[in-house]
Symmetry: C2
Amino acid sequence: MNPTMPIQADDTATIHAIVDDAWLCHVAFACPDVLCMPTVCWRIGDMLYIHGSNGSRMMKHLGGGAPTCVTITHLDGLVMARSAFSHSMNYRSVVIHGSFEVVPEAGKPAALMALTEHIAKGRGSDARAADQNELKATTVLRISLKEAAAKIRNCGVKDKADDMNLPVWAGVLPITQQRLAPQPEADMDVALPDYLSDWLQSSP
Amino acid sequence: MNPTMPIQADDTATIHAIVDDAWLCHVAFACPDVLCMPTVCWRIGDMLYIHGSNGSRMMKHLGGGAPTCVTITHLDGLVMARSAFSHSMNYRSVVIHGSFEVVPEAGKPAALMALTEHIAKGRGSDARAADQNELKATTVLRISLKEAAAKIRNCGVKDKADDMNLPVWAGVLPITQQRLAPQPEADMDVALPDYLSDWLQSSP
């Protein structure tokens, strides 16, 4: 395998790691026009979850079993080659084809708790949990990750042989997601909880 | 307008700023199954550009005028409310509906130069420009931003009145894109060019 070409992967660990690094996915569907909507996502086991208001067009359409494609992409760097043509990007992506299924009422509390925990581990037992009305107003959908495919480019420059001696700097400009200091609400008289105190240090 | 609700915007300056902050968009189309593909994007005037190999299924399909939806999303923060239900995210997104048109041969060099300059300003006059064979092998597509719509959430917590006195920390955990130190190729004997020396300081 050429290490400078994107790697295709379908192993569970790779797919789960890319999904777990994401708070957002892009969901595409035809309704009847093609739409591509960013939405919050999280994982439980081998399933990717999304949620929304019962009234949302996307929730209604996807909850009806419409075919969908869900994509998660992390941009990790700009790859600067000696020729414009050979420039590239380092990234990790997961593409999921299939259709969502509706999470039944009884499964919603645990699914939404997992979302709150995905946003910040520890948050689920601190924030007020959803009450009956909130649960009732929310649709939770899930789609299997078993057929998902990951693609990863995570390496240096691949210039053509003829370009290798050009006097042009070549390398990677890495990009990552940075967490900044928590911004409390005005007049917040509750101290930053322990589970958020390492927000700046945690990896995404 | 409730400042804690997402703002819908369709003014050119807002849309252009969100697009210019992006290196990636997600392109959705039906071929015939719905697909959602991450791809490099850049802007010239009122048009969003993408490119790819002539042989790519996406380029062939979109170049034929297929309806598409292109979405750019920046995640700017996690909004931690006192109740799980009121958690939210700060983000900036642009959604473009329409269809791509093929950039004619004569327009390709300037369009691809703009891409190289978008990757890093100054790079276009340093890296070797595309030669005739490379230009011939590349499809460049563009879609109008005139009908694009932006959506922005950029504010604090919106809890329900009954939850305001809960002893739960509330605020925003900001997220941004961080640029890390350039990583030259092994044995690189060309110094980092001036136009990349402020990579770490430049905004995305």
